[in-house]
Subunit: 215 residues, 2 copies
């Protein structure tokens, strides 16, 4: 039922291909060779062809790749051809910022509800989406066919929320809390550890800056 095993490195790169192809599409580019794309993306043409061939032969010898077709196919692989209902758990600054992030909708992610522990926020709406209290979370997930929970609670509370979510049919968690969640294998976790990213920047500034070493 599934393709053969795809390496994490390939999955990591897939959204970037999708973005570049989207840009090409916006610029009305009809076709592109792996060689041209490799120059734009600053990777090897060989890698592009290898990566794509994990999922099928999308190109044509002597022609290259049709941009629109490849864009659509990668979109399907990424699951962007279907819509995904999600909730935001944690209505702090970051949660609210994400709630306002309109780009979601265009790629099929539909915000259905926002949850928080703070009773002061109860029934307030962000972009027309109501904030609920945590005790409603489990029922809400069941009743609204929610696939994804965006976790923007403080580190201290992330564990208990994960516990709560373990007992639902949620499929994935987009985790912004700075902690490694413990969850059943059936729930996918994608971490966005902002602090880690900032530390890497700090590391690189200290070690590469001023051309000490190559990029």
């Amino acid at each position: 039922m599934d393709e053969r095993e795809i390496s994490q490195a390939v999955i990591q790169r897939l959204p970037r291909y999708y973005r570049f192809l989207g840009d090409l599409l916006d610029n009305n580019v009809e076709r592109i060779s792996s060689s041209d794309l490799s120059k734009r993306m600053n990777v090897t043409a060989s890698q592009i062809r290898q990566d794509l061939n994990n999922f099928g032969g999308f190109g044509q010898q002597g022609y290259g790749y049709n941009v629109k077709y490849l864009y659509t196919e990668i979109g399907k692989i990424l699951g962007l051809d279907e819509s995904h209902n999600f909730v935001i758990v944690g209505a702090g600054n970051l949660g609210q910022a994400l709630a306002n992030y309109a780009a979601f909708e265009t790629s099929g992610f539909v915000l259905k509800g926002i949850f928080d522990v703070n009773p002061k926020l109860k029934d307030i709406s962000i972009r027309g989406i109501k904030i609920h209290m945590m005790d409603e979370l489990k029922d809400f997930i069941r009743d609204n066919n929610i696939e994804i929970a965006v976790l923007t609670v403080p580190k201290e509370n992330a564990g208990e929320v994960a516990e709560l979510l373990s007992d639902t049919d949620i499929k994935g968690i987009w985790n912004f809390a700075h902690i490694d969640l413990k969850l059943p294998d059936s729930i996918i976790v994608e971490n966005v550890h902002l602090a880690d990213s900032l530390m890497r920047l700090s590391y690189k500034i200290g070690h590469y800056a001023k051309g000490d070493l190559q990029k």
Copy 2:
């Protein structure tokens, strides 16, 4: 002057070590072996020892690693023993959320100013930090010893801001705009492409969920 070449894979993992060691420290754990740490972190002990030995011998045979010492040393490697002045460029939802993200300060990142194009925001303050107009950016960076610019402007404007920053002594850019910036090699870019991350979650939900494949 610099250590020998460190692979990106190692740099990627460094902040996670730092976090786990911080947690151990909070729990008053005095020493830990690579083997114990490997179980907690779900990596091999061999990898931990290899990774650390890129930077020096921090352990002791028969004893393991002193948690506090190792934590401090990794902090130094990451540049967290010094403070870093930064500005936020783009005072939208995400920019404001990051401005309110207090965790920065504890690790030495000091917000000095916020910049935006919207004249309505002029001179408004967030957490006591004033919002300036873009035309002040270059002088502000020079006068306030700014190392890092956090880029939270829309994709469409990211290019011109990058252009502006190219002509400053900024050392690094923490880029939240969904675009690959073109900058001189002397400026480090660390990307946080939220959309990419969400797409990876979507991919994994579609391909791994319900235990179809291993995690």
